[in-house]
C-alpha cells in the first residue's frame, strides 16, 4: 500500500496519464489505476471527484455527460492541451525522483567487483 501523501501527490499525474489512453469516466479511471498498480494504489473513491473538478477548473481536462451503453448517464473526462503540457512537466519531475533514487539504490552490484 502506498503512503497517503504519495497517493495524494500522484493523483493528478495518474489521472492525466490514464486519460492519454482516451476519454474515460471516474469509476473506470479508478479501476484502471487499481489494475495497473495491482491494487497497491487504493483511492478513497469519492475523493477522486473533487480532484477531477479541480483539474477541470484549471482547464487541464474537460468533461461531458453522455448516455452509456447501460442506458445510465455518465460524466466522461478528456484531456485538454494544457493537460498534456502539465503531464510532460509531471513526467519530468517524477522521472527525476525515480532516476535519483535508482542511482542511489543500485550500487550494491559494482561494489562486489
Amino acid at each position: 500500500m502506498l503512503a497517503k501523501e504519495l497517493v495524494a501527490a500522484s493523483t493528478v499525474p495518474l489521472v492525466l496519464s490514464v486519460l492519454t489512453e482516451g476519454e474515460n469516466y471516474g469509476y473506470a479511471l479508478i479501476q484502471r489505476v487499481r489494475v495497473l498498480s495491482e491494487g497497491k494504489i487504493e483511492w478513497t473513491e469519492g475523493m477522486l471527484y473533487p480532484v477531477l473538478h479541480w483539474m477541470e477548473q484549471a482547464k487541464l481536462i474537460e468533461s461531458e455527460w453522455r448516455e452509456a451503453e447501460t442506458g445510465r448517464k455518465r460524466k466522461y473526462y478528456r484531456l485538454r492541451r494544457e493537460g498534456r503540457k502539465a503531464l510532460l512537466e509531471e513526467k519530468l519531475q517524477w522521472l527525476t525522483v525515480h532516476e535519483t533514487l535508482s542511482k542511489l539504490w543500485k550500487p550494491s552490484q559494482p561494489r562486489l567487483t
Binding site: 473513491e45 469519492g46 471527484y49 473533487p50 473538478h53
Partner: protein, 249 residues
C-alpha cells in the same frame, strides 16, 4: 441466521445515501449525480463478483468514503456554492424576521382594537392609553416570543431537513408553487389586519382616537425594547453553542 424482515431495496438505499449527502451545501446536484453514477457502477461490479445487493451496497458506499470527509473535499471546490447557500439563509432570515415583525405588530394592533371596543361603547376615555398600551404590548411580546419559539423548534428539529426541502424546492415545481402561494398569503395577512384597524380607527371620535394612538405607542415602544432584548439573548445563546461546538467541549 438471517433475521432481516424486509427485503433489501437497492434503489431506496441509494436514494437514502444520496439524501444524506444532499443536506450539505458542499455538493452541487451535478456532483451528487456523478457520485450516484459511480456508486451504481461499483455495485454492479461487486454483484457480478457474486455479492448480494445489500453487501454490494455497503462495500461500495464504504469505498466511496464517509459523507463528512467527502463534504470537506467537495467544499474546497464548491466554495461559491457554500457562500451562496449561506447568503440564501441570511436573506431568508432577514425577510422572515421582517415578516414576523410586521405580522406581530398587526396582530397586537388588532388585539388592542378588539379589546378597546367595549370601553369605547361605555364612553370611558381616561383609562384608554394605559389599557390599550398594556393590551397591545403584551400581545406583541407574546406573539413575538411564540414566533421565535416556533422558529427555534422547527430549525432545531429539522434544520438539515428543512434545508434539503428548500434545496429541492428549487427543482420541483409543485414545491416552488406551494412556497410562493404560502408566502403571498402570509404577506397579505398583515395588511388585511391593518385594514380592519383603519376602519375601526375612522369610527372613533378625535379625542378617543388620540387616546387610542397614545396607548398603542406606549405598548409598541416597550414591546420593541423587550423584543430587541430577546433577539440579543437569542444571539448570545447561539454564539455560546457555536463556540462550544468548535472547541468540542
Amino acid at each position: 441466521m438471517e433475521t432481516i424482515s424486509a427485503p433489501f431495496d437497492l434503489n431506496q438505499a441509494i436514494q437514502q445515501w444520496r439524501e444524506g449527502l444532499n443536506g450539505s451545501p458542499a455538493f452541487s446536484p451535478e456532483n451528487l449525480e456523478e457520485l450516484e453514477s459511480h456508486l451504481r457502477d461499483s455495485i454492479a461490479q461487486l454483484k457480478q463478483h457474486g455479492l448480494a445487493a445489500d453487501e454490494a451496497f455497503f462495500i461500495a458506499s464504504r469505498r466511496m468514503g464517509s459523507g463528512a470527509a467527502l463534504g470537506t473535499e467537495f467544499g474546497k471546490i464548491n466554495v461559491s456554492g457554500i457562500w451562496l447557500n449561506r447568503a440564501l439563509w441570511m436573506l431568508v432570515g432577514i425577510q422572515g424576521l421582517g415578516f414576523i415583525k410586521s405580522l406581530v405588530s398587526a396582530v397586537s394592533l388588532g388585539a388592542a382594537t378588539l379589546g378597546i371596543r367595549p370601553i369605547v361603547s361605555l364612553g370611558s376615555v381616561s383609562a384608554m392609553p394605559l389599557y390599550t398600551g398594556l393590551l397591545c404590548g403584551l400581545v406583541h411580546l407574546l406573539a413575538f416570543a411564540a414566533a421565535l419559539a416556533v422558529g427555534w423548534k422547527l430549525l432545531r428539529r429539522k434544520g438539515p431537513g428543512a434545508a434539503a426541502w428548500l434545496r429541492k424546492a428549487q427543482t420541483s415545481s409543485t414545491r416552488l408553487t406551494v412556497l410562493v402561494v404560502a408566502f403571498l398569503l402570509l404577506i397579505l395577512l398583515s395588511p388585511a389586519i391593518q385594514m380592519g384597524n383603519v376602519i375601526f380607527f375612522r369610527q372613533l371620535s378625535p379625542s378617543n382616537a388620540g387616546q387610542f394612538l397614545l396607548g398603542i405607542n406606549y405598548g409598541t415602544m416597550s414591546a420593541s425594547l423587550l423584543e430587541s432584548a430577546m433577539l440579543i439573548v437569542l444571539t448570545l445563546v447561539l454564539a455560546r453553542r457555536q463556540l462550544f461546538a468548535k472547541t468540542g467541549g
